[in-house]
Symmetry: C2
C-alpha cells in the first residue's frame, strides 16, 4: 500500500473487533516497522512485545476495562527504557512515539485496525505496570502503550481535524 494513502486513511479505531486471528507474519511486520523508527542518539530505547496467545490476550484485555479494545485477538505492547541520551537529556517519549506511529501505519497497510492506548494505561491505577508484570517485564522498563490489533467488526468513526490553513504555513507563522 502506498505511503500517502496509508497516512491519509489511518484512524483510531474504537469499535469491536472480529475474532479472525492476526498472523505471526503480520505481527512481525508491525514490530519490524516499529523498531525501524529513529531514536535520539540511536539509543533504541523502545522494545515491543506482541501478544497473540488467546489466554494472555484475554488476561491483558480484562485489565483494560474497555471491552472494545479488549475484543482484539492480538496486541502490541510498547516498552520504553528511560535512558539518558546525553548529559541529562532523554528522548524516550519521542523514540516510542515514532515507533508507535510506524506500527500504526503498518497496521493500516495490512488492513487491520488499532488505537494508541496510552493515557488509559499509564494513569494512577498503573494498568501498564500490571500488564508488564504479567509479561515478565523488569522494573527498568515501562509498558507505556497498548495497541489492540485485529479486523474491524464495526464501521468505526474518524475524528474531525482543523483545516490545513489553521496548522500549516509557509515562511512564517500564519503566513
Amino acid at each position: 500500500m502506498e505511503l500517502f494513502d496509508v497516512i491519509k486513511h489511518r484512524r483510531s479505531y474504537r469499535g469491536m473487533y472480529q475474532q479472525k486471528p492476526v498472523s505471526r507474519d503480520q505481527l512481525r511486520a508491525i514490530m519490524e516497522a516499529a523498531l525501524a523508527a529513529p531514536s535520539g542518539c540511536n539509543k533504541q530505547t523502545t522494545s515491543v512485545i506482541a501478544v497473540d496467545d488467546p489466554a494472555l490476550v484475554k488476561q491483558l484485555g480484562d485489565m483494560l476495562e474497555a471491552p472494545h479494545f479488549a475484543s482484539a485477538p492480538a496486541a502490541i505492547c510498547i516498552l520504553t527504557e528511560k535512558k539518558i541520551a546525553y548529559r541529562d537529556r532523554t528522548y524516550y517519549i519521542q523514540d516510542y512515539s515514532a515507533a508507535i506511529q510506524n506500527a500504526l501505519l503498518a497496521i493500516e497497510a495490512l488492513g487491520l485496525e488499532s488505537c494508541w492506548v496510552e493515557g488509559h494505561i499509564t494513569d494512577a491505577d498503573r494498568i501498564g505496570r500490571r500488564m508488564a508484570d504479567v509479561l515478565g517485564v523488569p522494573e527498568n522498563l515501562d509498558l507505556v502503550c497498548y495497541l489492540p490489533v485485529g479486523y474491524a467488526a464495526e464501521e468505526g468513526t474518524r475524528v474531525k481535524k482543523l483545516p490545513f490553513e489553521e496548522r500549516a504555513w509557509f515562511n512564517g507563522y500564519r503566513k
Copy 2:
C-alpha cells in the same frame, strides 16, 4: 512508494544537500502527512511552518551552526503547544513525534532526505526560540524540531541497530 519500503529505507541524513529546490507541492505533501498523525484526545497540538524562501532558509541555517543541515534548500519547522489533554496530562511530545515520523516518511517517499534535529535546537542556547522569533511564532508555541529537506549531495550513512531478537518478543519479555 510502498509503506514498508519507505519505513525500511528511511534514515537520518547528515551529509550536505544539493541546491536543487524542493517544490511547494512536495512541501505541502510533507506538511499534510505530519498533520495527519493522531494526537492525544485529538488536541492537535502540533503545527508546522515550511521554509523555502532562500534568504530565510539561510538565516535559520546560520543559527544551526551545522553546515550540513544548513545546506538544505528547504526545511520544515515543527511547532508545539503544551496543551493539557485532560486533568493534568499532556501528550504534546507524543503528538509532535508522531507528526515528525509521518513527515520523515513522506520525505523519504519523495526521494528527499532529512534528519530529526531536536536536541540541538532545544538545548540551553535555545536556537529553536530564536528561530521561532524570526518566524513570528508567539511565545505559547515552541519550535522543537528542524527538519532540513532536500536532495542528498553525498552518499550518507546508516546507523546500526540491535537485531530484532534483542528488542521484540512474543507473549512475554525476552520470549
